[in-house]
Point group: C2
Chain length 193, copies 2
DNA sequence: AAACGCACTTGACCTGCATCAAGAACGCTC
DNA sequence: GAGCGTTCTTGATGCAGGTCAAGTGCGTTT
């Protein structure tokens, strides 16, 4: 079970979407667990079915895809945001992606089966489930649109606006990969500022 | 309500995922409606919330995104496959995409509210809902991975393997856009075969 | 503190694909 | 079936960004 601060963080994250009664919180909160990972530890491997939906308590994680020796970074998760392989979590099909801790990380997680059961006993949670899924969908769609319609330069600018701290937290090569450009191009873009 | 053939098609599409009793079919089938669209008619506009989940009875549709005068094609739907703006349908948030009939189209559709209600009264349908969502997710992820990791040539080959008939059905410029290349490049790739 | 590895920078080169442009071949409409 | 718009082809040109290579700095290990 999560620590006291952990439970508080889960409560405040969910509270942004729905109000629950004290009795309901007592059903919801005990199901969340605290999970810790070392730097570079793989949290969910390719081929695994994602069992957990998580809120990031500490650290940064990345989602990437492997193909003939290369890696393509698909997304990041950090303080306060959701973490996990959402498509695999939702569909309970094996993931083709890897979730890895970039920095030492602590996640507050709930199991798929527990969440499903909660949907039955605490109907308001459905709204939470829908809205967090919406955020994930929108995030993916925004990235897809940006990749399709913007040059490297502009994609860089936008990411720096949205997540200026990211640069301090993760290797530049991962950000470059996320933006769909080589590490060299990324470096050059930074230089001319 | 749908025609007799329409209901048969809905039944066989759902039957691939779950078995229902006759009594259950009688709850499910009457909620599906037949909707017809002219060539080039917009089915779901940008900004709309997607109300419908559909099975394609006839015709081809495309999903695209508009930005400063350009269009980026995100996907196609045709005979037997699902159609709709799935992320907007699932999240009930306004769509940033457009769904348009490329050829005259007939869709067999169920409303979001009706489907939600059915999940309550026919629990087996949840499985259907999950599996069709899985297909959509997987389709999106496959395309994302292909865009990221393959040169234009190979993306072209793969699409032609997967959907050889597509070329007869929709303008080449839309396929080119879907593959993330210019119409000219697409034309040249075809020529050298 | 020496030594190794890894991330980052910078330069030179090269190429895949976009863009521009101009013609050919289809549909539609009247 | 004449005319017009739209789609498709083909050629010429240009450039964004990938690749290769060599060097620099830093954090870790021993």
């Amino acid at each position: 079970m999560a620590t006291f601060e952990g439970m508080e963080q889960v409560k405040s994250a969910i509270s942004r979407y729905v109000d629950l009664t004290e009795a309901q919180w007592e059903q919801v909160l005990p199901l969340w667990k605290e999970r810790s990972f070392d730097k570079k530890e793989v949290i969910t491997a390719s081929g695994d079915v994602e069992r957990w939906f998580s809120i990031v308590k500490e650290g940064v994680q990345r989602i990437y895809f492997e193909f003939d020796g290369q890696e393509a970074c698909i997304g990041f998760a950090y303080g306060g945001s959701w973490s996990g392989i959402f498509d695999s979590f939702v569909t309970q099909a094996p993931s083709r992606f890897v979730l890895q801790a970039v920095t030492p990380s602590v996640l507050l997680s709930i199991e798929h089966t527990d969440l499903q059961r909660l949907y039955g006993s605490v109907p308001q949670l459905e709204r939470f489930g829908r809205l967090m899924l919406e955020e994930v969908f929108v995030g993916r769609a925004v990235r897809e649109i940006e990749q399709l319609t913007m040059p490297a330069q502009e994609r860089y600018d936008r990411l720096m606006d949205r997540s200026p701290h990211l640069l301090q937290l993760v290797p530049q090569k991962d950000i470059a990969s996320y933006l769909g450009m080589s590490a060299e191009t990324f470096s050059r873009l930074r230089a001319q500022k």
